[in-house]
Symmetry: C2
Subunit: 218 residues, 2 copies
């Protein structure tokens, strides 16, 4: 497994840039649940996901969470290296949702490359624009979608990510993704069950009528 | 009035880059209330604000609004030129809040400069990071702050922007900034009035106890 197959614009880099990244980056693995970046503005480094899944979330002083976006294979995480840009003034937590392998590129290495290479700098622009789009989409959902529509959307996305209609996820975890209270999730899931959309078990649920869930989104 | 005094990284540009911007940009003026960019993904161009004030907001299908951020003199607006990046996948409306002068830089010119100059590309990264920070901050407010705290924050910011404790703003306009309903704003303002924090008149209000408003934020 080589970073060259996972770093998205590898073929556009010069041999010198490639070798700087190869020399500086370290392949690491973390277990599901583990935190990679704890949200302070210290610089963990940039992450390039090889396999598994990470989630980026923000957390309130009172401990409430909401997921901003997820990172899968070949995705790059900038916000674990927020010191690469002065203007990144927020704290994101990065947690492994599954056992995850990633390359850690030290901040200094990436910062140097970004200051020298217009290709890497513009690629960074695309990543920022993409995350910004995710967050604005989320803002629209939070502001203007009812909780049941957001829950239906989340369950369908989760099912697509897992490639299964059976989801091993607790009500608490769903609440932390959606930024809502566990009680609200439990009430809505019970309603979905009474409508024949899902069946609930302890620590898991199964989607039995995906078409019905999709219709909720309209 | 020259763009050279308003374009934030002017002195870091090469003479060639400076002359491309000088030749391509046009100084324009719009009246308070006018829309400069209507939120579709067409490319109006990049805006560099000379004077006045713009607000960037998103709007729901049902017509509800929320302000994402404001742009003042020397601020640059990228999202009116979202076609410069593939990954910018959201629609922002840009409206003049006051009579506003700005330079319009055509998208093609900026896109070419960004693809050639690491300085301009990295500056674009800083702008994106700054707007992303604004939107994540807003997300935190929307998710975890009560409406009265957000209203107190908004009134104090507005007072600082205007340099006055008298604000010519309707309840409807405040609601559109905060992404809430006019009735909610009216109810909270009446409560603030009963607490001796503001006095209300038709189409305007006055902050009479700024310290009391600040205390609300804690």
């Amino acid at each position: 497994m080589e970073i060259s197959s996972y770093f998205p614009i590898w073929d556009s880099l010069t041999p010198g840039e490639q070798s700087q990244i190869l020399q500086a980056s370290t392949l690491m693995t973390v277990s599901a649940g583990q935190h990679i970046h704890d949200g302070t503005r210290k610089c963990t480094g940039l992450l390039v996901v090889a396999s598994g899944r990470l989630r980026a979330y923000i957390i309130s002083e009172g401990g409430r969470e909401i997921t901003l976006y997820r990172l899968l294979g070949k995705d790059m995480c900038l916000f674990s290296a927020s010191c690469i840009m002065h203007s990144l003034q927020f704290d994101v937590m990065i947690q492994a949702e599954k056992d995850t392998s990633f390359w850690l590129i030290p901040t200094d290495t990436y910062k140097k490359l970004m200051s020298e290479s217009v290709v890497i700098s513009n690629y960074t622009n695309e990543i920022l624009a993409s995350r910004m789009s995710d967050v604005v989409w989320l803002m629209e959902q939070v502001m203007w979608q009812s909780s049941d529509v957001r829950l239906a959307t989340f369950l369908l996305e989760e099912s697509a990510l897992e490639g299964s209609t059976k989801l091993s996820i607790t009500h608490e975890e769903i609440a932390n993704h959606l930024g809502t209270a566990r009680e609200v999730v439990t009430r809505m899931l019970k309603y979905f069950q009474s409508e024949g959309l899902v069946t609930l078990s302890r620590g898991s649920l199964e989607i039995i009528n995906p078409t019905g869930l999709k219709e909720r989104q309209n």
